[in-house]
Structures are given as C-alpha cells and as structure tokens.
C-alpha cells in the first residue's frame, strides 16, 4: 500500500484485533467451559479461564453420548457430499462447456436455479420425496396415463417404492442436488485457454481423453476447493440430517450435539460436556480449514468471476 502512516496502521490493526476477538471469543469460551466440571459450571456459570477437566469431559462425550458414531456419520455424509458433488459437477460442467449442445443454456439455467432455493425452504416436500424416491415417477406414470396401460398389460399398475430416509445415501443425495459446483467448474473451464483444447485435438485427443488427460489434472485446485467447501458444508448441515435420519445412530454429530441440550431435561444442561462435544465436533473441519485454507481461498476467488 502507498501510505505507511502509523495512525492508519494502528486503526487497521485495531479493527483486525476486534474482528479476531469476535471470532476467537466464543471459541475460547467454548474451550474454557469445556475444561471445567459440571459442578464448577453450576457454581460459576461461564468460565473465563481454562480448567483441567477438558480431557475428562471429552472422554465423557465419547463414552456417554452417540457423538462418536455420529461423527462417523458426519464424516460419511461430508465425504459423500464432497465426492459426489465434485464428480457430478465436473461432469456436467464439462458437458456444458465443451460440447456443442443446443440445450446447454437451458440445462445450465436449471442447474443454476438450484442455488436460489436452499434445502431448508423445501425441506417438507424433500422429505416426502426422500421417503419414496420413485414418487415423482409414479406420479408421472399416473398423470400421463401410462399406468393405465401398464395396468392393462401387467395386471397391476406400476408403483415403485424406495425410501432413502435414514440411509447415508438419503442424507447425502439432497445435499448434492445443488448447482454451486457446476457453476464453479463452468467458470473455471471458461478461464482455461481455448488453445489448450485445440492443441489437444491436434494431438488426437477425443472428449474422454481430453477430460482425463487435460481437464481433470488442471482442475485439481478447483477440485480441492470445491471438495473442502462441500465437505465442510456436508459436515455442518443441520436441518436435513435432523429430519432425514430418524435414529440417533444415523444422525450426524452436529444434530447429536444440538440434541445433547434438551436431552438433559430436568437438569441444567451439562454445558461443559456440550462444549466439549462442540469442540470435538468442530475439530475435523477446523483442522481441515487450517490445512487446506489455501485451496478454500483459491476456490472462492474463482467463484467470483
């Protein structure tokens, strides 16, 4: 920057300091509370300084709650969400950018529209659909009258049923039905020089080879960014896992954590344990951010164009 005025730097530093305090404050209080005993909390409330019960509280989270197995669910959901989103997005974006198809615009609009209506808005009916994935098909068969035909031929109308509720697939699929990844990759592909495509064609590469030999290796950073983003988003989901999984053993850790509070009806919630749970539940994504922050930033930068 141009000026180096001391007062300016001081003000800037102060703003950043306040910002960091705002971010770190709750995290710090979470940690300190998690490091005291339940009795200490009952007596003193919020803990301003660390205690020595952190390990003990964490151990209790592991022995007394379902959070360990729920962490596994979270991990599977996050991983599944990330992997499926990356793969499906890259394929669809590739098809839309690198092929001469007349319907590309329509397809892209259809995909883009999914960004506008978050799952939280349409959760009721998504739940209904998830309870029978074939219901749209059934409805289609009924409406078009095809089912009458089928009923005449086969004797009974076709009515397929497949509930994905309370399955890992069911937890993941509605999260993947989201266009951000396709959008991101499309933007990225469009920044790749057109000559690269020409060069590959001159070298004799067809669409599949071009995808695997050129596009995929070049998309590594975008891939990583999207992967981190969708992993985090899968991990931190709340509403869908809350309704999509009916048993605690299928629920994700975030839901389990939120459940720890009302679970303790009749007693003051065991906040130290809840906070220890919060720490445990956030540790994987936080480590991920710390390690992959670079990709995250690059990925988000891309999405801006």
């Amino acid at each position: 920057m141009v000026e180096n005025a001391r007062s300016l730097n001081f003000a800037t530093g102060l703003i950043l300091l306040i910002g960091m305090a705002y971010i770190l404050g709750p995290l710090y209080l979470t940690l300190t509370t998690a490091s005291h005993s339940y009795e200490f909390m009952l007596r003193n409330g919020l803990a301003w300084y660390p205690g020595d019960q952190l390990v003990a509280n964490m151990a209790r989270v592991f022995t007394e709650t379902r959070i360990p197995v729920q962490m596994l669910n979270s991990f599977l959901v996050a991983l599944g969400n990330a992997a499926a989103t990356c793969i499906l997005s890259v394929l669809s974006a590739y098809a839309l950018v690198y092929f001469r198809v007349r319907w590309a615009g329509v397809a892209f609009a259809l995909i883009l529209a999914t960004i506008m209506l978050p799952l939280e808005i349409r959760v009721i009916t998504t739940y209904q659909v998830a309870s029978n994935v074939f219901s749209p098909l059934n409805a289609l068969l009924d409406v078009t009258g095809l089912n009458d035909l089928i009923a005449q031929i086969a004797g009974v109308p076709l009515h397929l049923e497949w509930s994905v509720l309370n399955t890992h697939f069911g937890l993941i699929a509605p999260l993947v039905a989201h266009g951000t990844g396709t959008f991101l990759f499309r933007q990225f592909f469009r920044t790749l020089p057109a000559d690269l495509f020409k060069a590959a064609r001159m070298d004799g590469a067809g669409p599949i080879r071009f995808l695997f030999d050129i596009i995929l290796p070049l998309s590594r950073t975008s891939f990583a960014a999207l992967f981190v983003l969708t992993f985090l988003s899968g991990w931190t989901q709340y509403l869908w896992p809350l309704v999509g999984a009916s048993t605690p053993d299928m629920q994700t850790a975030v839901v389990g954590l939120a459940r720890l509070v009302p679970d303790a009806e009749g007693t003051v919630p065991d906040f130290p344990m809840v906070m220890a749970g919060a720490v445990i539940v956030s540790i994987i994504p936080l480590v991920m951010i710390a390690l992959l922050q670079r990709y995250l930033v690059q990925g988000l930068v891309l999405s801006e164009k």
Binding site: M1, P26, M116, I121, T125, V129, A173, Y238
Partner: protein, 296 residues
C-alpha cells in the same frame, strides 16, 4: 462460442455426462419444488388418507394470515440486518486485512475459522454464552436485573441470532471480498494516491466500486445462506420464541409441517417463499447485476 473449434460435436456423450446430475436435481430439487406447489392447491390429510382440491384457498388463507406476514416481516428484518451485517463486517475486516500490516496475516487465517463450525454448534455455544444468568452478560444482569433476557424479550433473542449469524457468516464473505480487494491492481491505488486521494477516500472512490462484483456475489449468496443458517440457529437458540419473536418463515414452515403436520399450509408457505426468493434474486440481478459489468 458457437464455433466448432472450441467444442466437441458428440451428440450423446454430453447427455450421458449431464444425466446423473440432472436426474439427481430432478428428483431431489425439482420434484420437491413441484410437490410443494402441488400441495398448496390441496388440503392434504397428514397420513395420506385423501386430499381435497381447494384451488387458491390455501394461498388466500396464508396471505390473509397475520402470523404469516409477521413471520415474513421478521424474515425480511433478519435478512436485512443479519445479511447486511454479515457483509458489512467482513467488508470492514477485509479492507483492513488488505493493508499489509503484521496483523493481517493471522487475521486472514483466524477469520476463516468459523467456516468449520456448524450453525447448530454456533447456536449451542451462543445460547450458552448469551445466557442471561451465566453468560457474558450476566454481570450486566446482576446490576440491572432483566436488562438482558433473550428468553423473555424477543428483541434480545433476535440480537443473539444476528450476532451468531454474523459470526458464522464472516469467513465466506471475508474471503470473497478480500480476494476482490487483492485483485485490484496496485497501480490503481498508486494512481489514486497520485491523484491526491488518501486511504480513506480511496476506499470509497476506488476499492468499493471495484469490488462491486464480489459484493454482489456475497449479497446474493448471503441471501440464501441467511435462510440456511437461520434455521439451525433458531432451532438451537430460541426455538422460534419467545412468543414467536424469532419465528422466521423457514422455521415456521418447518414447525407447521413437521410439528403441526400441516402439509398443505407448510407447502403453501414454501411456495410463496420460493416465489418471493426468486423474485428477489431476479431483482438483485436486474438492478445490481447490470450496473457492475465493467471491464478492468
């Protein structure tokens, strides 16, 4: 773009490539959306025993329901206050972190951390931290009893939600805005400095106008993000209370549909909300999007 030199001409391969994703969004996005609109024209028995077509009656009822409008109004207030804060705070921080001082490196890192903390976890934590008896504001309450009572006072509950939302919303917006700021060429600052503009003036004359695309993006995304985050926060901090003071539309839909098993009512509200969001997003694109399309 229409030229063949840039494109493959295979006919079925692209269909094959898009098909899995299209199928997925057809089933898990469009079918539910369609279902919501469909149900909003019926009175649907919860256990599926039967349904009665009622035309626009559901809409008429919802739209004349003062509860719906209050929830809608609260939603708008939340979106406006929480979303604008969730963009403004990161904006200020990003402008600060864009200056090369010692603090900016750790800040750039730390400010991204909340991205890893789930909305529901934030909720659990903030519920405790803002607890009127044991939380950070307890001393205040000791001196002025009842001054901070999110369990009783709707405004206090609302403030807690906003504070939590902003906390969780900082990273994403911060990163995008910072990226925008950093993509402003150094010479642009130098040119403005030569033109006599100080740092403060440059923020408004150069930096802000130039990161309009990023700001626009954050605003659009923040919009849907606030819906998502709001649900988790409400469900973990306030349960929509006290007295419905924090019942935003998303939460109301969930409660009506899931606790009240009023599928038609919930669907109708969903449908209205969808139309509202679509109109708003379209408006954003039309009014904001158009003005910021200049080349660098």
């Amino acid at each position: 773009m229409s030229s063949d030199s840039n494109l493959f001409s295979n006919r079925w391969l692209p269909v094959l490539l898009v098909a899995p994703f299209m199928l997925l969004i057809a089933v898990f996005f469009y079918a539910p959306v369609f279902q919501a609109f469909y149900w909003s024209f019926f009175l649907e028995q919860p256990f599926g025993g039967g349904s009665i077509f009622v035309g626009w009656e559901n809409f008429a009822r919802v739209l004349s329901d003062s509860e719906f409008w209050e929830a809608a109004w609260r939603t708008i207030i939340f979106m406006v206050t929480a979303s604008s804060l969730a963009v403004a705070v990161p904006l200020i921080l990003a402008v600060a972190a864009d200056r090369k001082i010692h603090m900016s490196l750790p800040a750039r890192n730390v400010l991204v951390w909340p991205k890893g903390v789930a909305g529901a976890s934030i909720g659990v934590v903030f519920a405790f931290i803002f607890n009127p008896f044991v939380g950070v504001l307890a001393p205040l309450n000791n001196s002025f009893p009842g001054i901070w009572a999110p369990g009783i006072d709707g405004t206090d509950a609302f403030i807690t939600l906003v504070a939590a939302h902003v906390w969780g919303g900082i990273p994403f917006n911060f990163v995008i805005i910072l990226a925008g700021l950093q993509s402003i060429p150094r010479t642009m600052h130098q040119a403005a400095a030569m033109d006599g503009a100080g740092p403060w003036r440059r923020i408004f004359d150069v930096q802000l106008p130039l990161i309009m695309p990023q700001l626009f993006l954050t605003l659009v995304l923040e919009f849907t993000e606030s819906v998502t985050s709001a649900f988790a926060l409400i469900d973990t901090i306030t349960d929509g209370g006290p007295g419905g003071a924090t019942t935003l539309l998303v939460y109301k839909i969930y409660v009506d549909g899931f606790s009240g098993y009023d599928l038609s009512g919930a669907s109708t509200q969903t449908a209205i909300l969808m139309v509202f969001v679509i109109i708003l997003t379209a408006a954003q694109f039309l009014f904001l999007g158009r003005r910021i399309n200049y080349e660098r």
